[in-house]
């Protein structure tokens, strides 16, 4: 059984007991425990079930590479699935639930998959769920969905109780990894004067060197760590961050740090996670190395663990995963585990060394009375929910002639692989190191930065060296190289001297025993989380998957949340062997960020709830909100769609507003319309290029409706232009268009006509603008008093500056409704007061505010086009019958040449017409009209589509506009629009002006 030892445990505080629950069972741990160490201390060997076969699984590792021990953590608004127990710090009240089983961890129905495993090889889903086709929707998909995924997603009503944030940091040197290599590299870089940030994913400095032992400059490793940290803390140019993982390295020195601020103190004030968005001139990846499992049958039974992890549990947390342990290895390092266990009082029954000989550590082990068996291997681990026996065989064999030994834990070591993820994220290349059988960073092919030079330096065991002495020498050089790369002079200095027991060379062992028979290979796991076995990769190779990327996707090897941290190299080696190719030829799969999964909250940062996205508000926003506004998003603006009164539906409100504006008086908040000032000696010439019509001839005091096209000829915006003085124009844009059209103008001024003397300023938000619309519009303005707004003093399509009701304003006599209409602009800071004054004065004239839907209906009744309804980026003004707004006199304007292209002048282009349903109903928006015959795909030919469609309360029927082939020549013809509801809508082609065809109402 696994249990807490009476001694050891450098990271726990035995005076502080912590209570937590696992699957509802109350357990005890100590402060400083991880959830994994605490579970082991409580003899919880089995912690979950595997993804595909639902096999019992236990803790394999002690850090970020853990594939099995994932749990659902917390509850309610703080529940999170798939949390690694090995990186979860224990806290009082922690609640954890194991995953992927039903009804319980101990008794699971899904384990039936395990017994039919031989029928579930790689590619099973691809091969099986194909025919018959109708089965997909009703049989296969529901089954697959039911069994897919590891943990449960939080239920959809639950909202995350925590907050998150981003932080932008700028440093010269970012060191990722706070082990001895990272500490030393940071120190060297910092001493050069560079601004250094050092981040470490765990809660402790020093990495695994303090566990592995040895001395640095003659002192214990712990002392070196303590001293270096305090030196770094004392330096102003150094930022140290624990619980902050280097998640990814990106172009031009961009890196993400994922800081878990309060995962271990849930509910604490402040953000839970902080995503550091770091720009570094140089990045040092001191990310260490990960031990590889060995591939033998039953290597996934709870109690089989990485040798280094077992050592960690003993030394760091005072926990032993077993009382009678067998060690299997292909290298000397695993002997340290045996020695550590033995010294802690644990029975170490055997060291099975696949090699024929080992180094001095073997002598030390023997000296402690441990039996070392060279050339031996594990044929099979027996046991279901925990290890019971190990069958031992010769490494060079098929797994026969076994000796069985009873034990309760197995430590395995297949050698070490540098953590090259961050080096590789942004293009750093790897080389194969034959001696250590691993890929390591190729120093000649680093990721390249903005200046074309390498910006990542790997340090310590992340760079290949595995002994303490080599690690420190390498880190010293890396720190100096990074400082130099960042433009600082680092003193060469001597690296601290690290000393450990010398090690004999390891030997690559990709399968144990080397020629294991198929029954063993079918139980030899490569990827624990995704249930990929040696036999699966071999099958993939036999079926023709030669590319490692294809094999990955076919078998799902390395596709789990651990992204193959343990399985990658072992899987590659099996594939290479099956293909009879060299490992470096087969290559690795791509390393993609993040290094381990990071929270969605951290990615979103502050952008949730009220600040999920900006909502732009006019000065009258709050009034609208209080007055029943049903909001419509228009770009980032919110505009009232309609003002709904108690007892009304939205539809009722729209109809009321439509009728009232035509009959009495309506007010529209038009503040969102863009307003651009264009000024300069060349402003007229410039606007003649921007608009299809002539703006240079517009007289001061007058307004003109203008169209803007792109160089492609397509209509991009429209609005009323007013000439303010001799060299100043004010251009109105659509609501969504202010920033876009401002940028469009600046683009042409800065990049094409930079010698033209024109300045543009966006003054959209300087003004609150109110459209005062309806037969009583003049009356309310006259009642407020001030400016003469009579027909004579302020004719249609003119503007005046002055005062109305005591407000400084500019009044435009323009109309988008066909009614008598003024748009009055006042300073934004007085917008609400002006609106209030209009509402008060308008009472006797039947004033009502109206929203965007009413605006749309009024303009549609008049056949006025709307950018975004009648246009979609493929429509030219000529399609919309707007020839009158396209100058024939001008030699050039944006879009003119394009509109001469053959496709643009094609008489078959769809043209704007009005559409009237035969029965008065409302045409479905976007519906297509069908014509005779079929196209090459056998679909009915289309001859037009609906662009705007509304119920007109004024006309008591549905009205619509649409683009129809030869439309203007087909007046009176009835065409058919099949709806998605199965009905055929019949509509007559009519003139698009439905109301007040002679335009008398706006001219009074």
């Amino acid at each position: 059984m696994s249990t807490r030892l009476a001694n050891q445990g450098r990271l726990i505080d035995r005076s502080k007991q912590v209570t937590f629950t696992f699957n509802g069972k109350t357990m005890q741990g100590y402060e400083g425990d991880t959830l994994a160490s605490a579970l082991l201390a409580n003899d919880q060997m089995m912690v979950g079930r595997s993804f595909k076969y639902h096999r019992p699984r236990g803790i394999v590792a002690s850090g970020a590479e853990e594939p099995n021990a994932l749990v659902g953590l917390g509850e309610g608004s703080r529940f999170e699935p798939n949390q690694r127990t090995t990186t979860t710090e224990l806290f009082d009240g922690l609640k954890a639930e194991s995953q992927n089983h039903w009804p319980s961890l101990e008794h699971d129905i899904g384990v039936v998959n395990n017994y039919v495993a031989r029928f579930l090889p790689s590619g099973f889903y691809y091969k099986t769920f194909i025919h018959p086709k109708p089965f997909w929707k009703h049989v296969y998909e529901p089954i697959i969905r039911q069994s897919a995924g590891l943990g449960k997603a939080p239920d959809k009503e639950t909202r995350d109780a925590d907050t998150y944030e981003h932080f932008y940091a700028f440093v010269d040197v970012l060191v990722i990894g706070g082990g001895v290599a990272g500490l030393q590299a940071a120190k060297v870089a910092a001493k050069s004067g560079a601004k250094v940030m050092l981040i470490e994913q765990t809660a402790h400095w020093g990495g695994r060197a303090p566990v592995d032992g040895g001395t640095i400059d003659g002192e214990p490793v712990d002392k070196f760590v303590e001293q270096t940290v305090s030196e770094l803390e004392a330096m102003d140019n150094v930022t140290l961050r624990l619980r902050c993982m280097g998640a990814g390295v990106y172009d031009h020195g961009y890196a993400l740090g994922y800081e878990r601020i309060s995962d271990h103190t849930p509910g604490a004030q402040g953000p839970r996670h902080r995503l550091w968005r770091i720009r570094a001139k140089q990045i040092v990846t001191a990310t260490g190395a990960i031990e590889r499992p060995l591939s033998f049958a039953g290597n996934d039974v709870p109690g089989v663990m990485l040798a280094s992890a077992m050592r960690d549990y003993v030394v760091n947390w005072g926990v032993t995963p077993g009382e009678r342990v067998i060690v299997a290895t292909n290298n000397d390092d695993a002997y340290r585990t045996a020695i550590t266990l033995k010294k802690a009082g644990v029975d170490v029954l055997r060291i099975l060394d696949a090699r024929d000989s080992a180094g001095p550590l073997a002598d030390e082990a023997r000296g402690l009375g441990i039996r070392v068996d060279p050339g031996k291997a594990i044929a099979k681990v027996k046991g279901g929910k925990r290890v019971k026996k190990v069958a031992i065989c010769n490494q060079n064999g098929i797994g026969g002639a076994r000796e069985e030994v009873e034990c309760d834990a197995v430590a395995m070591s297949g050698g070490w692989s540098p953590v090259v993820h961050l080096w590789s994220h942004c293009g750093g290349k790897l080389i194969w190191d034959e001696a250590n059988a691993h890929f390591r960073p190729d120093p000649d092919r680093p990721p390249l930065g903005a200046n074309g030079e390498g910006f990542v330096v790997a340090a310590g065991s992340a760079n290949g060296p595995l002994s303490l002495g080599d690690v420190l020498t390498d880190a010293q050089a890396a720190g100096a190289a990074a400082a130099k790369g960042a433009g600082f002079k680092a003193k060469a200095g001597k690296a601290p001297v690290g000393e450990t027991t010398a090690e004999a060379p390891m030997e690559a062992v990709w399968l144990m025993p080397a020629n294991a028979e198929v029954q063993l290979r079918m139980k030899s796991w490569l990827d624990f989380q995704n249930d990929v076995k040696v036999s699966d990769v071999q099958l993939a190779a036999r079926e023709g998957y030669e590319s490692v990327e294809h094999t990955k996707r076919y078998t799902t090897l390395g596709m789990a949340t651990d992204q193959g941290k343990l399985s990658n190299i072992n899987g590659l080696a099996i594939l290479a062997d099956s293909l009879d190719a060299e490992i470096p030829k087969v290559g690795t799969t791509t390393f993609r960020p993040p290094y381990t999964p990071i929270s969605m909250g951290a990615i979103a940062g502050e952008a949730r709830g009220e600040v999920f996205q900006p909502i732009r508000r006019t000065p009258m926003h709050d009034w609208h909100d209080r007055s029943g506004a049903d909001w419509e998003p228009v770009g980032q603006w919110r505009r009232p769609y309609a003002y709904v009164r108690p007892g009304e539906t939205v539809h009722d409100a729209v109809n009321r507003e439509v009728k009232n504006t035509r009959e009495n008086l309506g007010l529209l908040d038009a503040s969102t319309l863009g307003k651009l000032i264009v000024k300069g000696p060349d402003a007229g010439k410039f606007l003649d290029m921007m608009y299809t019509n002539m703006m240079s001839t517009l007289k001061v005091g007058k307004c003109r409706y203008g169209l803007m096209c792109s160089e492609n000829g397509f209509l991009i915006d429209d609005g009323v232009v007013a000439r303010i003085d001799e060299d100043t124009w004010l251009c109105h844009t659509t609501t969504g268009g202010a920033e876009r059209i401002h940028a469009h103008m600046e683009e042409w001024l800065q990049t094409e006509w930079w010698d033209w003397k024109v300045y543009v300023a966006n003054v959209t938000e300087q003004y609150a603008q109110v459209a005062v619309v309806g037969p009583n519009a003049r009356k309310v303005l006259e009642k407020l008093g001030g400016m003469d707004v009579s027909r004579e003093a302020l004719p249609f399509m003119e503007w005046r500056d002055g005062q109305i009701g005591g407000f400084d304003c500019r009044a435009y006599r323009i109309s988008f409704s066909g009614e008598l209409s003024y748009e009055i602009a006042v300073p934004a800071s007085q917008g609400q007061a002006f609106w209030d004054a209009l509402m008060e004065a308008g009472k006797e004239f039947g004033v009502m505010p109206y929203g965007t839907e009413c605006l749309h209906i009024l303009r549609a009744e008049k056949g006025f086009i709307m950018i975004g309804d009648e246009t979609d980026g493929t429509v030219i003004p000529q399609d919309l019958g707007l020839h009158w707004a396209i100058s024939k006199k001008k030699e050039d304007f944006l879009g003119k040449r394009a509109q001469e292209r053959s496709h643009m002048t094609d008489p078959d282009r769809w043209k704007l017409v009005g559409l009237e349903t035969v029965d008065g109903s409302v045409l479905p928006d976007g519906a297509y009209a069908v014509g005779e015959g079929v196209n090459a795909n056998g679909q009915r030919n289309m001859i037009g589509r609906v662009t705007s469609t509304y119920y007109s309360a004024n006309l008591g029927r549905g009205i619509a506009m649409g683009l129809v082939k030869h439309g203007p020549d087909r007046m009176g013809e009835v065409i058919e629009f099949p709806g998605t509801d199965g009905k055929i809508y019949k509509a007559k082609i009519v003139d698009p002006v439905f109301y007040d065809k002679d335009g008398e109402k706006q001219n009074v």
Binding site: Y250, D251, H252, G253, Y254, R279, L448, G449, A450, N451, G452, E711, N712, A743, E746, E747, Q750, T751, E752, W754, E891, D892, K896, R897, A898, E900, R901, S902
Partner: protein, 109 residues
């Protein structure tokens, strides 16, 4: 995520402050141009693996357009320069030659 130095305000701006504006140094063809000329002006673009010239705007910043010369394969930036020019300036071309001898892009080399 790229960093480009805005030659107008001097800021080393990260990509979230910038807006990409497509290929640089395209000559406008208007009325009077042939169909082929106009077609090429609107639609034909380089797609190099290597040296490329682009337009960018410091949109969340000083608002100015500028040019950038960079390598599309390695993302190395050879330099940024004024938008008020119809061709890459000499010092930019020389900077590229120092790093990518024999480079060619449209009529420039």
């Amino acid at each position: 995520m790229l960093i480009l130095n805005c030659p107008y305000c001097g800021v080393d701006a990260e990509e979230t402050e910038l807006t990409a504006g497509g290929e640089a140094h395209i000559k406008r063809h208007g009325p009077g141009s042939s169909d082929d000329e106009f077609h090429d002006y609107l639609f034909m673009r380089e797609n190099p693996k290597g040296v490329h010239f682009e337009r960018w705007r410091h949109s969340n910043g000083c608002g100015k357009w500028f040019h950038a010369a960079r390598c599309t394969a390695t993302l190395e930036v050879f330099g940024t320069y004024s938008a008020q020019t119809t061709e890459p300036p000499k010092e930019i071309r020389e900077a590229i030659s120092a790093k990518r001898p024999g480079w060619k892009w449209r009529e420039f080399e």
